[in-house]
Symmetry: C2
Subunit: 247 residues, 2 copies
């Protein structure tokens, strides 16, 4: 699968480039682009393709990237279809729903992967005094959910900056969480579930020993992760390179 | 379906009684009990039954009500089964997974409805300076998800106090959110989706006009909700009776 990270914000895109480097695997590749959804073309989008909606709990597509989705796929009539597909009901932040586009699909897109990030945009999500709980964690969750719920067989997944608009998460935090989630996703089949669990716990700042009592330390050595750096990881200040395997 | 609210905490149980009163509908009834999971018997549990696990993101059952579930259904071997059913992977707070008990079932219980409320119990969820974001909203979400995801045909759903243990949400907040979610669930088929949306937005404190632009005000009058009280609702101080229909 090709994962396309696309946004109009120059700095966010540069962060992505810095954090992702040239990483790709046998099964996945990553393309980072500056621009709008509408600039993506047949050369970047292999069908069937999916695109992430980092939406609100009621499926309205009135702002930010969601508004771009609405305009791209069919305006307010499309929004009506989208909300009907979501059951016109409250969907919690942290949930995921894959919405088939059916006849609304175009240019190879067949699905929207809906991951609500706010209940409603009446106030920002981010609180500078609680960057982990209101920045790093919700962005990691939305990114992780989008990646693991994309339908099997999807050839391209398009993802914009998450929570970086009205939700107010600073670009450095959004890009860091998105890229950690993506890099972890890219290697998830090469590391044990135990190590995956420890990496997530340490990234998010839950240094909880009872959830880390397996033999992952030897595995760290085998894949080139410094255990001491992992155990002292501070998401606000440390590079994710410190806790990623040396590929 | 019968919804059984059960907890060992006297005050939480009393809060539930005060907030639920004698409410029941043609399709659902509510039973409030003080005690442990193990005191529930054939007289309260009609099969097939389900019980909520307000767990952590990795499905460990090491504390609180989850520990009671582990002991009740089969100890650490059951926990191993449970975590395998969850895919031994990270599941975001805000997600839901219905886990069939299969041969681990007993006393009529056939499902656990898993709604993770914390990533790991290394720090409390609740922050007294942000009671909406860290108290009312996560509890409402977990309760709402449990109710809407319970398998069709379930006769009894057992729910403990949510987030009121190590997650640290005060009993008054937990019980208020649980009971608002439950009372809303009980009436969801008698009010429009538009009004349901407005009630949720106002309860959670997202007074966002673009999501409230339908004709729900007339409906409020018809069901006995005071529109002005609804628009000024302050979850920290106002009674949920103020924004519930007069049944």
């Amino acid at each position: 699968m090709r994962i396309v990270l696309v946004d109009t914000n120059e700095r966010l895109v540069q962060n992505w480039r810095n954090l992702m480097g040239n990483v790709s695997t046998a099964r996945h590749s990553v393309l980072v682009m500056k621009g709008r959804l509408s600039i993506l073309s047949g050369s970047q989008i292999n069908k069937p393709a999916a695109v992430v909606s980092p939406g609100n709990s009621f499926g309205y597509l009135g702002g930010g990237f969601d508004l771009a989705l609405r305009e791209y796929f069919g305006g307010t009539k499309f929004e009506q279809y989208f909300r009907e597909q979501l059951g016109d009901t409250y969907r919690t932040v942290g949930s995921t729903k894959v919405v088939p586009l059916n006849s609304w699909g175009r240019d190879g897109f067949e699905y929207i992967v809906y991951v609500p990030t706010v209940v409603a945009p009446s106030r920002p999500l981010f609180d500078a005094e609680r960057p982990r709980e209101t920045g790093f964690e919700p962005v990691f969750n939305a990114m992780w959910n989008a990646l693991i719920h994309v339908p099997a067989g999807t050839q391209t997944l398009v993802i914009p900056g998450l929570c970086s608009g009205y939700a107010g998460v600073p670009l450095d935090i959004s890009s860091k969480s998105m890229c950690f989630a993506l890099r972890l996703y890219l290697i998830k089949n090469t590391i044990s579930k135990d190590l995956q669990r420890v990496l997530i716990l340490q990234f998010l700042g839950y240094n909880y020993a009872p959830f880390m009592d397996n033999d992952w330390e030897e595995e760290c050595e085998a894949v080139g992760i410094d255990v001491r750096k992992l155990m002292k990881f501070d998401v606000a200040n440390d590079s994710i390179n410190e806790i990623m395997p040396i590929i």
